[in-house]
Symmetry: C2
Amino acid sequence: VEYRSKYGDILLSNCQLGTIPMQRIKQVNKPTTLITDEIRRIDSRENAFTKARRGDYGPAVQRESPHAATKDPLSVSLADIRRFVALVETNEIAPHIAPIPEDPGVLTRHIKRLGYFLRADIMRVCNLPEYAVYSHDFQGNPIDINYKFAIVIIMAKEYPTLRASNGYDWIGVPLSYDLYLRLAVISETIANYIRRLGYSASPEYTGKMPEGCRVLFAPLLLWSGVGEVSRAGLILNPFLGMHYKAAAVLTDMPLLPDKPVNFGLQDFCQHCEICADFCPSKAIPRGNKVIHNGYETWKLNEKLCHSFRVLNKKGTYCGRCIKVCPWTKPNTLPHDLVRWSVQHSGFARRIAIKASKALKPEKAESNKKWWFDLEETDGVLTIPPDID
Amino acid sequence: VEYRSKYGDILLSNCQLGTIPMQRIKQVNKPTTLITDEIRRIDSRENAFTKARRGDYGPAVQRESPHAATKDPLSVSLADIRRFVALVETNEIAPHIAPIPEDPGVLTRHIKRLGYFLRADIMRVCNLPEYAVYSHDFQGNPIDINYKFAIVIIMAKEYPTLRASNGYDWIGVPLSYDLYLRLAVISETIANYIRRLGYSASPEYTGKMPEGCRVLFAPLLLWSGVGEVSRAGLILNPFLGMHYKAAAVLTDMPLLPDKPVNFGLQDFCQHCEICADFCPSKAIPRGNKVIHNGYETWKLNEKLCHSFRVLNKKGTYCGRCIKVCPWTKPNTLPHDLVRWSVQHSGFARRIAIKASKALKPEKAESNKKWWFDLEETDGVLTIPPDID
């Protein structure tokens, strides 16, 4: 009550805080994906990138791996600057808790609104499940951290560029690295601020130095209600499809977790196989979900997917599934109407899938292509010989 | 012609590249402000900040100066992270120019579109006038640089927060520091990329280390056509008013300069004195422009302005003129109609000024206030005693 005069109703009401109306999506108590109690913690080194580098995917993939993500000059520039952001020193937690409300609802809305102020696209919160924390970090050290909450920060790929791309060309990695850089900046800023308020806070983002990111984002995205599991194996948001990246700030500041969401995606992906149709590596499965490490999910063939990305001569990596997904649509009225109807009707989902196929989701708006196809090898730029 | 297949028409046409339709504004050959040939280069240490610190504005201002800009925890967090960005090491210029078109028009549109990709709000280009380069840097060294062009990067303050602010409260500095941090990141990234293409490039932004920013932004904003001189002394953009910040990348890459703009602001500001009416320090002059260091401009009383900012007990610094300016309006259809009509008609300008006064431009949307009023002294946070 004492603080009432010091902030606005915006921190007490349920009004929308950012530009994306997540409050319109049905909130549920559990993720729409079955999560059993048999999930084991994963070593952060056990991912496609490290497997590729140590030769699990064959000698050609091993040889190309070190430079595959940064073979165009714009990706290298974005990675360069991120390296310096990742050197940020951790400030000390203030010895006293700040004279601010202790109400978790108010604090949650304050931190979310701060995220939007700093240009996040979606801010969500969940409890931090133990299995979302990797067992070992990039340096091989066991991870023993214990935070109550994860603040999940989402940023969307620059949409007009995604439209201009075919999904596996020379703007693929820059589309992601733009986000990784900005997510590094925003999560370091929010963590620094929370520590100044007297609470613990650890920023976790792709490229964090030196220990690497210490959490798996998929369970955080499910529990905080960013999206549902998709056929392509990524967590799909109803407004951003899969064209976004996430970072997190882990904290013990008292917060109010969000709930998972259900917008009919399990049925949608069951009947839609557009991503599988267009996947150049045939890594995306057709048919039904399986149980994998305790999750009920469609299981991507990581070896096929990552090998194609690394060996792709027509661009940097690949995000073709993101490009062709019917959910990769702008936030305009006609698309909002479709978005609403497919949440509520299986019939609408069938129609939407048919319409998406008919409208050629694979098409690149090539007249909007603004980047140059350039490959950087030892600081020398050449035009790659093999471009679509 | 060889490159035609490798990029889209977007780099050849005149279509709008970002979200702000600057092409709708009348382009002219010279700034609407008279610039004589008597402009002397300025020492970068000769600004209100350094004058305040060395005691030119009296002992009280001198004493408060060191901490005035970073007395709230969010500003300190944003400044902390920017310090690390400012430590970015300069990459070498590639020994060969990249195999890309040498057409200045294509290169200009490529770099501008890159800026929008990286979330700039406006990208413009001008020749670099000698008098836009400071004579000495922050460390006292003479500046001797010679670049042909300045790429001007504009980012707008987060508008909903500006609406919630009264212009001199505890969110003033964070509104600017959010931009300074993001401008540091984007200008370092673009400069790094241009150097990889084989051209010189120097990022210039507020907080650059260790030499400080080496250019004055006002002449760059005038010549590149970001805006016109306003009564408050800042360069006003027709879509963003004065609620933006600028950075620049200086380069010799062949570019096509933009032209200055004329949207009727000299007549508008002559008749509108809203900023002067509401200025808490009475630093903004009424009446006519004067000639100052070769520029025809309204001359702000820097001592009054800066002393108020430093001694302000009700918040961090002050941006009241930005808050109350009739041009601080969102990019919506009704405002676009007014924007169009005041460009073309003196009568419309008189009506718009009257309407602005009647609509209480000073009003803060206090129900949207999401920040806490907090003052940080030696790491301890307190609620400032004197809040409006």
